[in-house]
Amino acid sequence: MKKLINSVDSVVADALRGMASAHPGLLRVDEENRIVSRASGPRAGKVGLVSGGGSGHEPLHAGFVGYGMLDAACPGEIFTSPVPDQMITAATAVNGGAGVLYVVKNYTGDVLNFELAAELCADEGVEVARVLVDDDVAVRDSLHTAGRRGTGATVFVEKIAGAAAEGGAPLPEVVRVAEEVNARSRSFGVALSACTTPASGRPTFELGETEIELGIGIHGEPGRTRSTMRQARELVAVAMDALDEDMPISGDVLVMLNGMGATPLIELYVAFAEVAEYLSGKGARAARSLVGDYVTSLDMRGFSVTVCLLNEELTRLWDAPVETPALRWGR
């Protein structure tokens, strides 16, 4: 395992130092408490947006802290949800008096830790709401399971709810918008290779020269099924069919063609061309899009595609100015 790190144990702390040095104008990094927040601090009367989760998904979440998006992010160890202390400190730090929204990806660890944090916040008089992101159609949902994973739609929820909060919406309104984005979004991922966590030092699974995993998550876990390598066009069709089957795609959509961390950008554009064609075959249109690495799994090769059915409100909020390390426009 060759990784550009100083030691297995210091990866997250070192990366936080790097973020602090790279974005002094945008971010304030509390290395001690492991919290990344806006350099500008909380704004009175604005709902605070806090997210967090395991590290290894960069730029998610800390790369989305800034004007028009998150107020703070709590990075956990690699692929490990952060702890309630971080979440409580973050909520207290960003609270501008209008309450705080926790954006939580649906994983047992994230859910439980944010739950404990929310309870403790309530005890301390900080009003906290939670929205659960669970967009991954590869996971069959049922009452008896952990439910769908939260993956790519997290970026959409954070951006759009962030814009609502920035625009002065009160907490229930921000919650409504966040839940609407989640309800209208679906994701599906494909791995061409596994990833290697620094702690384990070897790939989480082994794929042969022509094998791929369909329906992967973002923690290096294998997917629903192993399959064989195909053209970009066919792989995109597998992913898009899975989305469309779960939520018929039509009209103007917001699409993210996301790289898993080690997929060259030229390949992501190749895949995006196929997404655009697929959409027009359905009478839909990629009215807004992102192509690049947004929700990654360390050094995994592969992609995920996330589609959100837009409406006028969501489009307006998507287009609103944003100024974060990883997403920036209008400012």
């Binding site: 702890v83 439980l112 966590t197 702690a199 989480t204 294998p222």
Partner: protein, 215 residues
């Protein structure tokens, strides 16, 4: 059993986790995200440090500190779950200075109930519950049957180990492994495997304490 036995238990867990870290991580790599060994090592190392800084004077206070430290330092699913288990067990022990096997059985039942409430997993869901629940049951039965302490703890440890092994053919209903659907079958659940270590450590701690007392 006094506070020293419980402190020894935690030390044994920390040592066992360190020794088996790679195995736990490998189990987690197969059906999860390859961090269970590192999570528990980070957690129990922190617990050992916390106990060195602040030596609680009752078993209940000690388990409470263990639970809170795990919740504050581990993260992931196992942090809040193990943390809650120890915290609830500690609460159940109240401020008694010594603990009988029967007290311990009731406390561990409370811990298990906490895990069930928080995580929502039932037996058969291929989680740590599949090791903890039979262990707690075996302990309670041994108490009911009037077994000695050593024997009772041995029964619990064996039941936990058997419970962990029994997760292999299960299809996961909770936690990350559930995302794999049928592909989760054929692998031991990492949390169940670590729960077996926890019960084995309890046995070892009791035996060692007994010996050191010349018993």
């Amino acid at each position: 059993m006094d506070t020293a036995v419980f402190a020894r238990w935690i030390g044994e867990i920390a040592a066992a986790v360190r020794a088996d870290k790679d195995r736990l991580t490998r189990l987690d790599a197969a059906i999860g995200d390859a961090d269970h060994g590192a999570n528990l090592e980070r957690g129990f190392d922190a617990v050992v440090r916390a106990l060195a800084d602040d030596s609680p004077d009752t078993p209940g206070a000690l388990l409470g500190l263990v639970g809170n430290t795990l919740i504050r330092r581990v993260g992931g699913a196992s942090g809040p779950l193990y943390g809650t288990a120890f915290r609830e067990a500690g609460k159940a022990l109240g401020d008694a200075r010594t603990v009988s096997t029967a007290d311990l059985a009731r406390a561990l039942e409370a811990g298990l109930a906490g895990v069930r409430r928080l995580g929502g997993a039932a037996e058969g869901d291929k989680t740590m519950v599949d090791a903890i629940a039979p262990a707690v049951r075996a302990l309670a039965e041994a108490v009911r049957d009037g077994s000695g302490q050593r024997e009772a703890l041995g029964a619990a440890a064996s039941a936990a180990l058997a419970g962990a092994e029994a997760t292999i053919p299960m299809r996961a209903g909770k936690g990350r492994a559930s995302y794999l659907g049928p592909r989760s079958v054929g692998h031991e659940d990492p949390g169940a495997a670590s729960a077996a270590l926890v019960f084995a450590a309890l046995c070892a701690a009791e035996a060692a304490s007994d010996e050191s007392r010349g018993g």
